[in-house]
């Protein structure tokens, strides 16, 4: 039973790489054998978010071009023995790989891993086509902003056109204080607009920046975002977990004033 999951969004900077790193790490922490594949050729970043940038010898393009065997390019994570990374190339461009080469490489990896997670580049060009080519299901990441939701909607259309029908939504950078004031769309609003099943709500948490600074995914840690990512991992595996209440630590008075702001 191996599952190929593409993490995509359309718009850049909404948290695809952070999501890929945390979901991959979380699944590996629960004993699953996971490989993360960075498909953003020319702008690789998953290696730095994972803190593995110093270990890269070969990359995705080397594998596809036959400069090395796939085993030589795969890096083992420093924390979890069942977590692996296939980094992207930094000096090539998106046309260095095509979708059929990706499909072939993924089918080769399928029997070795429980989960294959593809970190998709922003945009809808070749890089996107490469990333979705071999995928069974998709996690669409968006933020509660007009531009990100618009791009997510476009991406959903393209995924469906490419016969990927299992699509789940992750809403990132939720600010409960702004929702309370009526200045940010709630996750219900976003789900209503995109009509996708919700698999995760991640709060806007400064610990994400700290974790990225350190090159340590924060999934499972005692932070709001860490718990949110942990819950996403459970749901990816098919478990039902209730959604966190971000209002939990809010005082009674803030809640009362919030009611008046909703208007």
């Amino acid at each position: 039973m191996s599952e190929v999951i593409v993490v995509t969004s359309g718009k850049g900077g909404v948290g695809k790489t952070t999501t890929s790193a945390n979901v991959g790490t979380g699944l590996a922490a629960m004993g699953k054998k996971v490989i993360l594949i960075d498909t953003d050729i020319g702008l690789r970043n998953l290696d730095v978010v994972m803190g593995l940038e110093n270990r890269i010898v070969y990359n995705l393009v080397d594998v596809v071009e036959g400069n090395c065997r796939i085993k030589q390019a795969i890096i083992r994570d420093k924390r979890y023995p069942t977590l692996f990374l296939l980094p992207s190339a930094q000096t090539k461009d998106k046309s260095a790989v095509n979708p059929s080469q990706m499909v072939r490489m993924i089918s080769h990896l399928r029997d070795q891993f429980d989960y294959i997670i593809l970190d998709c580049p922003a945009g809808i060009e070749q890089g996107f086509q490469n990333a979705i080519a071999g995928a069974d299901r998709a996690l669409v990441v968006t933020t509660p902003e007009v531009s990100a939701i618009r791009d997510a909607d476009r991406i959903i259309g393209l995924l469906e056109a490419n016969e990927i029908h299992r699509i789940d939504l992750i809403i990132n950078r939720i600010r409960q204080d702004m929702i309370r004031r009526g200045d940010m769309m709630s996750s219900e609003d976003v789900v209503d607009i995109l009509s996708l099943p919700l698999i995760g709500r991640v709060p806007d948490d400064e610990n994400v920046v700290i974790a990225t600074n350190q090159g340590e995914p924060l999934v499972g840690s005692n932070t709001l975002a860490g718990k949110a990512y942990q819950n996403i991992c459970y749901r990816v595996m098919g478990e039902e977990v209730p959604f966190m209440d971000f209002d939990r630590n809010v005082s009674f008075w803030t809640k009362v004033t919030g009611i008046f702001h909703k208007g």
Partner: protein, 87 residues
């Protein structure tokens, strides 16, 4: 003024309303040129019967509300100011 204060939309509602209209036209894949052609043709037909203000008329694809839960029907909305009913 007080009435205005009560009626003011939150930025959340503004975002939601804008997105609903935006996504419908994105999904229909209706180009701006095509909308312009539809608008011109509508203007031509209506002008046969009455005098209209073609400069300030506007058309838009939106969602109809209601009709049960979760049903989203795209609707072509035309706003055509009439200058004179008699031709």
């Amino acid at each position: 003024m007080f009435k205005n204060l009560l009626k003011r939309k939150s930025s959340r509602e503004i975002a939601k309303d804008r997105l609903k209209i935006l996504l419908i036209s994105d999904r229909v894949n209706c180009s701006q040129e095509m909308m312009e052609m539809i608008k011109n043709d509508i203007a031509k037909v209506i002008s046969k019967y009455m005098k209209i203000d073609t400069k300030s008329m506007e058309i838009q694809i939106t969602q109809t509300s209601g009709k049960g839960h979760g049903i989203k029907n795209p609707t072509l909305y035309a706003n055509i100011p009439i200058l004179d009913l008699k031709q």
